[in-house]
Symmetry: C2
Subunit: 332 residues, 2 copies
């Protein structure tokens, strides 16, 4: 009996010890890769306030919606959007089945490695390359192609797979928000079906919490199998003023927190901040040429110009990567 | 010391007792409003199998997607879709601001209570009424209008608010699926923003798990406030072959269970059943003139005709409301 009691008491102490450890972990800094400063303080203050039942700014969990841009906000977009690189690779792979590309621009230039001519073809040219590489197959086939590409293709400058060029401070922020009963969504100008194969593993965001641009798809019975077939036609552009529209259609709740990194995210952040009660809007400012890249007003991707000028007047938080982020990428 | 031990042991016994009680509750019938029969058996067998790690048909939680039609599957659609009744009411309410409706059909007929002429205007006429009553306001205003309407408008035949004309067996099924780590979605031909104000309270389904038809919306700064403005133009029809498209765009995962009640749900169910592994497709058959309504092949709403003919060959489960449902509506 004595031994039994001792054992019960021992277990109790162990249990108490484990519980204390957990509490200590909770009490610890939830954003260890963020340096102390305005941005971190604003985030902590915001989350503490909207989850405090005694606060006039309390927000019930069902309304705790946070939306994040993807390119340049959750993962690297510089010097070129990952999806465009995927499109380039895929056009090269499909070229043997398309002899007509040998004489058709910008395909001809891309296949010859003449990136200057590709760039000169502008958004119209790039859109043609994206269309040719994203359509003409079923949804399942596209998912497989994208998943395969993600397993082997690297950003050589950073020496990481593209799907691993994600920001450690943002991973912590996403986890912190979810621990506080937020639902976290991606709202990106990128292709919705291009992102979905990687968002769960990379960010803990399931496919149905990803909003993005899309091409038209069509239901067909193909070789006796019911499939979605991807068509070479733009359906929806989830960028700039399209972002609030994408949020309204896909989420149906106005976010209370929105995070972007370029002028294309301004409307999403205006929409989020336009609701009643306390709201938070943030932009990543890429200032770190050493650990990542430095670009803003004049950049060909992720242009951050007007938003920088209007930030103070609108109470938007500018997150300075160099200053605010202790660590940029997850440890390898 | 002796007392302390006794107390610790007592607490342990209480804890064990409580845990046993919970297990007993789990072991109880999860679908008490479903009569024993083919349908109930098929559901229980399916859920047990796909959640059994030792089964070759095991499905990981992230892929446990269930989609439900709304009109006629989760709530009453007869003798007229709830959303159309809302549109009629709203046109009447807005009439003083639209003197032109006095001479314009089908508005004139509706305002005069001449429902025969309204019906004769067909889908085109009804679409005009829906447009006029659903557009020309912000998303927030529309949500308020719908929410208000839901609090007072009744199906007099059933003597229930429309938002409470929901099927008890389906509420149990939704809860049972969620308890087994399914994500439950609505995929309806009804308006996405019309349904959203009621789906969480009625079914436990949050706004972002509702897929439906939509009109175009546009982001605008209106009186200094960033808003979505609803435009009188169809954006997407989430019906028939549109349902798999809506699923692909909004959810991004092929469902393993799909539940409908009319020929308009056939494509959704084909798509769900077309994936690998074990799948379940079901239709509600409205056979109960006494407790609800009886209609199928010749009905003007929720026509169930081809699906009845093709059910056996496709292994679709036909749920016979009269025979399979012990109770149709929740207790008041």
């Amino acid at each position: 009996m004595r031994n039994k009691i001792r054992r019960i008491l021992q277990y109790s102490f162990i249990a108490i010890f484990v519980v204390s450890l957990c509490s200590a972990a909770n009490a610890a800094d939830p954003l260890p890769s963020w340096n102390d400063g305005t941005a971190k303080e604003a985030i902590l203050k915001f989350v503490t306030t909207v989850t405090d039942k005694s606060s006039k700014d309390y927000v019930e969990p069902a309304k705790r919606i946070a939306t994040f841009d993807n390119d340049g906000t959750l993962w690297v977009e510089y010097p070129m959007y990952t999806q465009v690189l995927f499109a380039f690779d895929r056009v090269k792979k499909l070229a043997p089945q398309h002899p007509e590309w040998k004489t058709k621009q910008p395909f001809k230039a891309l296949l010859a490695g003449d990136m200057k001519t590709v760039a000169a073809s502008g958004m119209k040219g790039v859109a043609e390359l994206v269309m040719a590489s994203h359509a003409g197959m079923t949804g399942d086939e596209f998912e497989q192609e994208v998943s395969k590409w993600f397993t082997t293709n690297k950003n050589t400058h950073l020496d990481r797979l593209y799907k691993e060029c994600i920001y450690q401070p943002q991973l912590e922020l996403l986890a912190y928000l979810r621990a506080n009963e937020f639902k976290t969504f991606i709202v990106s100008g990128g292709g919705i079906q291009f992102m979905r194969p990687m968002t769960m593993k990379a960010y803990g965001i399931p496919p149905w919490q990803v909003v993005g641009s899309s091409i038209v798809s069509k239901f067909e019975i193909k070789d006796g199998k019911p499939e979605l077939v991807r068509m070479p036609k733009i359906d929806f552009v989830d960028d700039k003023a399209g972002k609030p529209v994408g949020i309204y259609e896909h989420i149906g709740v106005r976010p209370i927190l929105a995070f972007g990194n370029s002028d294309s995210d301004m409307q999403m952040i205006q929409y989020a901040k336009g609701g009643e009660g306390r709201r938070l809007g943030l932009f990543v400012h890429h200032t770190d040429a050493e650990r990542e890249y430095a670009y803003d007003r004049k950049s060909h991707v992720g242009t951050l110009d007007k938003a920088l000028d209007q930030a103070a007047a609108n109470d938007w938080i500018i997150v300075d990567m160099k200053k605010d982020w202790k660590q940029v990428f997850p440890a390898k």
